[in-house]
């Protein structure tokens, strides 16, 4: 097909639309008057639910840990207090970062050039990975919160090997995951394994978009 045929074909399409396309004026007017919910900029109920649960977890958890640490430090293990405190601080940081990213996404000006807007959106969406990286830092805390001083005083060394080994493995895995969960590793099997599932699709799609945009940014 020649170029002239291509443009002629498009003109025929234009002609067809010119003759038959109608605007439902009443419903277009409704959009200017009703508080119509946007499919793009409205926040998903699942995201609101995640933020809500996270907020309750951090509020209740920090109240309990704070009260135990201040009013009953002798009745609770120091390992529990440190592990729970560490976990709660990281969850609180992740919540703040997550909320900040959601706000930034909603503030993007979509009347700016297409590539700039798409790149900004894709970068913000893919940066949700940062939240996941922060949350992965909690891993060792989940292996130590049940430890106690008596565990080390009364147990034989052989019985301590397993819990300590698990903690060491998680402690080693944590920085590795923190530094390796990034866009460049998206094709690695372990990355695909961690981020398999529908909830990660928007992030992986955002990464694909960033990759696609690279091809247009060269002058």
């Amino acid at each position: 097909m020649k170029e002239t045929e291509l443009t002629a074909l498009w003109k025929a399409y234009d002609q067809k639309l010119e003759e038959h396309l109608q605007v439902n004026r009443q419903h277009a007017a409704d959009i200017t008057r009703l508080k119509v919910q946007s499919a793009l900029s409205s926040m998903k109920p699942s995201k609101i639910f995640t933020l809500f649960i996270g907020l309750i977890w951090v509020s209740l958890g920090s109240t309990v840990v704070f009260n135990l640490a201040v009013y009953a430090p002798d009745k609770v293990s120091i390992f529990f207090l440190l592990s729970a405190g560490f976990q709660l601080i990281l969850t609180a940081i992740a919540l703040v970062v997550y909320l900040y990213q959601l706000i930034l996404i909603r503030q993007v000006d979509i009347s700016e050039p297409v590539l700039a807007v798409q790149e900004r959106l894709a970068r913000l969406r893919s940066s949700t990975l940062q939240v996941t990286r922060i949350l992965f830092l909690q891993l060792p805390a989940w292996t130590t919160f049940f430890w106690s001083e008596s565990m080390f005083e009364h147990n034989h060394t052989s019985l301590l090997i397993l819990p300590v080994a698990i903690t060491l493995i998680f402690t080693a895995a944590t920085p590795w995951l923190f530094f390796n969960i990034k866009y460049e590793n998206r094709d690695k099997w372990w990355f695909r394994f961690i981020f398999s599932g529908k909830e990660w699709d928007p992030i992986l799609q955002a990464m694909e978009m960033l990759e696609q945009l690279k091809g247009y940014q060269k002058t």
Binding site: N24, V36, Q37, S38, Q212
Partner: protein, 169 residues
């Protein structure tokens, strides 16, 4: 004042209905998705209407918003069930319900081939076929004119190759 704005906005929509429809049709084949996308484009145009910068042509401003919404919408999973107050009726529709694909097979193929392109390539060829020059395309997308020129040639080549594979045409 608000009524005046509303009137102006409706006039803009009426004047650019083909542009909005073509963008939506290039990113959504499914009727229901296209209906939702047209609603979303018009909603976002209305939300940005008061901030329209007259230094740009109206069509440039509409293209930017329509393409940005279409690309984001296309990549997002459908969320119709999440909407609290959807407008069920079609905002921009074809009066003659004879499908385009029955009246023009080649046009149907062209639309299909365009939909098979990457999202940004789709925007480039759409603007090119609409008659925008390289400078305008560059301004809407935010890329250099040299880049536009290279991409347009490549996309045209791709489309021509696809057409050449169809023996019936």
């Amino acid at each position: 004042m608000a009524e005046k704005d509303e009137e102006r906005f409706l006039a803009v929509i009426a004047a650019h209905k083909r542009l909005i429809y073509k963008v939506a049709n290039s990113y959504c084949k499914d009727d229901e998705d296209r209906k939702d996308l047209i609603q979303e484009i018009i909603l976002q145009l209305w939300r940005s209407f008061s901030r329209y910068d007259p230094q740009y042509q109206l069509s440039t401003w509409i293209y930017r918003i329509a393409l940005n919404v279409a690309i984001s919408f296309y990549r997002k999973e459908r969320r119709k069930q999440d909407l609290h107050q959807p407008i069920p009726e079609t905002l921009i529709y074809l009066k003659d319900d004879t499908p385009l694909d029955q009246t023009n097979v080649r046009l149907n193929y062209l639309q299909r081939f365009i939909r098979e392109l990457k999202e940004i390539d789709r925007a480039i060829i759409l603007l090119y076929l609409e008659g925008s020059n390289q400078q305008e395309i560059g301004q809407i997308l935010g890329i250099s004119t040299t880049n536009v020129s290279t991409k347009v040639s490549r996309i045209k080549q791709q489309l021509q190759q696809k057409f050449s594979k169809i023996k019936t045409l």
